[in-house]
């Protein structure tokens, strides 16, 4: 029901935007805002960029065939005007929007779309996202280096492009809305070579005006953007290398408008209590789950009762308190904001006595010794300590392994190294708002390989079949049923309990009074921290 309501809201929002442009027309364009980040922006090449800072930046410089209704998880065509899916779900035909211009003035044509995907899938490009397009026919050949073009993409004419898949895949439209498929102009890529990421040219709402390496990035409004009237802001300035605490002081003084890294944890409680900032903070869900993995290949976690006992032993409420209530307690892998989330599922309630009994049933009445890995950046060691205490209550002595992110990731990727990992700091945030995205790499058999991200080493063949089945349901009228299958997959996973889901982080976006826009744009599930295209300068209205 909740899902239906969400859809309803999305449709209403869309209707409002399309049907009554009066509201949008009332917004005066112009002005500028300043956003701060602590870490450097590595690249703005859509085929390569895959980190916290550049992910949303790339979304505003480039565009793809598909996108989402701003502030929602609802798919809509973007560079495409319309599309047709064949009955067997193997063929997609897109009609492109006419008159879309790259920042260099040239019109975007179907050949650019093909060039872009060929480039992303070509191993020479080193795109971390190439694997998302594995369903396109000819992907294996391009990966093997036998060819440089995908056999499954055909340019019919300048404004028509056809995709042939090697298997029906319900996530196909979502992956076309991912950055890795955002269209790039060949001439600019060839001109700059590997440095294209520092000289991005796209079709997005903003173009790059200036980039002072390690210091400052400035965007200018794209006057010929294909969504008329947008974006509103003339310039967006990113100031890089700013300590979050200092950035907050600057926001309070009106020098900064958005904190790219969020409200610093040490100041969170004080800021939330202060009535002055009430209207400057927007809270929203996030497609994020923090969890403890239990390696099902290592004793004693090969015993399902032990894993269930751990699920019951952890006081999740306390963990949430440790991070100042910036999260909600989780009981399943999917976060509440994700389609397919099961509202009725109760999960394993906190019950140390029952946990102890289960351990005894499993033959560990006296408990056992194990190791809990965690990333060594606050608040993760504190969270791991809290979990360690809970485990001690039922007799499990967990030795804490506080290590660097890279080391924990490497340990998780070995079949026999990390019995338990607290995922904080490396936890899963969905690439796209579809339930399948929480499965493959982190809970599916494909991720349970050396160097993979399925740190529980969980591989359930039966569920794997179910997942493949669900993802081959591509027609629109099957979607409700597909979501239902995914819902049941995650609940079945919880029976095997390879994870103890702990919490889903909430987002708290703090913005200056200068930035205006609907709340949804400040906690957009796809654009993090904010949806740059849809916010405006409130001081000039």
């Amino acid at each position: 029901m909740r899902r239906n309501l969400l859809t309803l809201f999305a449709v209403l929002a869309l209707a409002l935007m399309v049907g009554t442009p009066v509201m949008a027309a009332d917004i005066k364009p112009g002005g500028s805002i300043v956003i701060t980040y602590k870490d450097d922006v590595s690249t703005l090449d859509p085929a390569i960029g895959y980190d916290w800072q550049n992910w949303s930046m790339i979304k505003s410089i480039f565009s793809g065939l598909m996108d989402y209704v701003p502030g929602t998880t609802e798919l809509i065509p973007d560079l495409a005007e319309s599309y047709v899916v064949s009955d067997d779900g193997m063929h997609y035909t897109f009609k492109l929007r006419k008159g879309v211009k790259f920042h260099n003035g040239r019109e975007l044509k179907a050949a650019d779309v093909k060039y872009t995907l060929d480039r992303t899938c070509n191993p020479k490009t080193q795109s971390p996202g190439a694997g998302f397009y594995a369903m396109i026919k000819g992907f294996d050949e391009i990966t093997a280096g036998k060819t440089e073009t995908l056999a499954g993409i055909e340019v019919v004419d300048d404004y028509t492009i056809k995709f042939e898949l090697s298997r029906p895949d319900a996530t196909f439209l979502h992956v076309l809305a991912l950055n890795f498929g955002f269209v790039v102009p060949k001439e600019a890529v060839e001109k700059w070579g590997q440095d294209f990421g520092k000289h991005p040219v796209g079709t997005g709402a903003y173009s790059l005006k200036e980039w002072v390496l390690g210091n400052r990035i400035e965007w200018a409004r794209n006057p010929s953007y294909h969504h008329q009237g947008k974006p509103y802001l003339d310039t967006i300035v990113f100031e890089i290398g700013q300590e979050p605490t200092v950035a907050l002081l600057r926001l309070q003084r009106g020098e900064v408008d958005i904190l790219g890294d969020g409200i610093p944890p040490a100041r969170f409680v004080a800021i939330m209590k202060d009535a002055k900032y009430k209207d400057m903070i927007v809270e929203g869900g996030q497609l994020h789950t923090g969890y403890v993995t239990m390696n099902v290949k290592m004793k004693p976690f090969d015993n399902v009762k032990v894993r269930q006992a751990v699920n019951m032993a952890i006081n999740k409420e306390r963990v949430v308190k440790i991070i100042n209530n910036r999260a909600v307690v989780a009981n399943q892998p999917l976060p509440p904001a994700m389609p397919g989330y099961d509202n009725d599922y109760q999960g394993y309630a906190y019950d140390p006595a029952k946990a102890k009994a289960l351990l005894a049933e499993a033959g560990y009445a006296d408990g056992f010794e194990t190791e809990l890995y965690c990333m060594n950046v606050d608040p993760n060691p504190r969270i791991a300590q809290s979990i360690q205490q809970d485990l001690a209550e039922i007799g499990i002595k967990a030795d804490l392994k506080n290590q660097s992110q890279a080391t924990v990731i490497a340990a998780g990727g070995e079949p026999d190294q990390a019995p338990m990992i607290w995922s904080g700091g490396m936890a899963w945030i969905a690439d796209f708002p579809d339930p399948s995205n929480f499965y493959g790499p982190i809970l599916g058999c494909g991720g349970a390989v050396k160097g993979g991200w399925n740190w529980a080493w969980y591989c359930n063949e039966e569920l794997e079949q179910k997942a493949v089945g669900a993802d081959s349901m591509t027609s629109a009228d099957q979607q409700a049923e597909r979501l239902e299958i995914w819902r049941s997959i995650y609940i079945d996973i919880m029976k095997d309990a390879p994870w103890a889901p702990i919490f889903n982080e909430q987002r708290f976006t703090m913005h200056s009074e200068k930035v205006g826009g609907k709340d949804a744009y400040f906690v957009d599930p796809v654009h993090i921290p904010i949806n740059y295209e849809n916010v405006y300068d409130a001081t000039i209205q």
């Binding site: 701060t36 602590k38 870490d39 450097d40 590595s42 690249t43 090449d45 390569i48 895959y50 980190d51 191993p123 020479k124 080193q126 795109s127 971390p128 996202g129 190439a130 694997g131 998302f132 594995a134 990966t143 590997q194 440095d195 990421g197 520092k198 002072v212 390496l213 390690g214 210091n215 100031e239 890089i240 290398g241 700013q242 300590e243 605490t245 200092v246 002081l249 600057r250 003084r253 020098e255 660097s404 992110q405 890279a406 080391t407 990731i409 490497a410 340990a411 990727g413 899963w428 690439d431 493959g440 790499p441 982190i442 494909g446 390989v449 160097g451 993979g452 991200w453």
Partner: protein, 308 residues
């Protein structure tokens, strides 16, 4: 002629040191129990993607082969490309150089401005209250964590008093607070060094002679003693140049200063080996150059150190 000989000898030794450092840094990057390709490819990459990236980066080759290839590129003046940013490492380092040099100059200026007078004052008042106060203050300066000092200065002088910008880089005003922060820590060291060196010198015979001649104490201290006592301080500046070229990671991050330290720190987090190697090389080079400069300057001040 013999000065030239010494220079050549030193340069040759420096070359060997630098090659040794590249080797150690290279091996260390691979000893970290983590996989740079995994860090680069992210969570959603398939096994095939990971392996093809590994191949493209040449990381599937044996370590000695990789090292020799690296040295070969280095010999041709090529520092390689960042795994993460895809940009030339030289470009990245070059872009951080101005900020790094400014901070270095500012920091050394304030270190000396604080350290030398404090050291001289303490040695002149040896054992008295003034000496003790100066040394307690220098001890606090040395031990105070830079992020605390930095944030405190920011809060008071930028946020409350509005005298300086709240972090960032661009103008002379931006430089003052980060340089003072480093100056407070470094000044503590310099003052202690200056004090002990001064006390040593003040006990020497020629100082007694100067005093016996009836010279005023200020002239004895500032002219006769200082010239000799300042030598270890100059050697330390040489070391400091190298130290600051490594970047002042903590201060850079508190003040949002785009120096080499930030670049190095971010590269280490994602095991961006070419950048780590590049920064290490620059740091090694500048320590060598810093020492070299100190060796050149000292004989100018103390004729006894001139090679005949």
């Amino acid at each position: 002629m013999s000065t030239l000989k010494m220079l050549i000898k030193r340069l040759a030794a420096s070359g060997a040191i630098i090659i040794g450092i590249t080797m150690i840094a290279f091996l260390l990057s691979f000893l970290i129990p983590a996989d740079p390709v995994r860090m680069l490819a992210g969570r959603s990459a398939t096994q095939e993607t990971v392996e093809s990236i590994r191949h493209e980066l040449g990381l599937d080759q044996p370590l000695p082969v990789q090292y020799i290839k690296y040295l070969n590129r280095l010999a041709h003046g090529d520092l390689g490309r960042s795994y993460k940013q895809k940009t030339e490492v030289a470009t990245l380092i070059w872009s951080r150089l101005p900020a790094t040099l400014w901070l270095m100059a500012g920091a050394i200026f304030f270190e000396l401005l604080i350290g030398i007078p404090a050291g001289i004052y303490a040695s002149a008042k040896r054992g008295q209250r003034g000496d003790k106060t100066a040394m307690v203050l220098s001890f606090i300066g040395v031990s105070a964590p830079q992020f605390v000092v930095g944030l405190l200065l920011l809060y008071v002088f930028a946020n409350l008093l509005n005298l300086f910008p709240l972090g960032g880089y661009g103008s002379f005003l931006h430089l003052v607070l980060p340089a003072v922060t480093l100056g407070i820590t470094g000044g503590g060291w310099y003052s202690r060094m200056m004090r002990s060196s001064m006390i040593d010198v003040l006990q020497q015979d020629y100082i007694r002679t100067a005093r016996a001649k009836g010279l005023g104490e200020p002239k004895v201290v500032l002219v006769h003693a200082l010239r000799n006592a300042v030598l270890p301080v100059i050697a330390m500046i040489g070391l400091d140049i190298g130290f600051f070229m490594n970047g002042a990671v903590v201060v850079e991050s508190v003040f949002g200063w785009p120096g080499i330290g930030q670049l190095a720190w971010q590269a280490i987090q994602v095991i961006d080996i070419p950048v780590i190697m590049g920064v290490t090389l620059v740091a090694a080079l500048s320590i060598v150059i810093g020492n070299f400069l100190a060796d050149l300057v000292m004989p100018l001040i103390d004729p006894r150190l001139r090679v005949r």
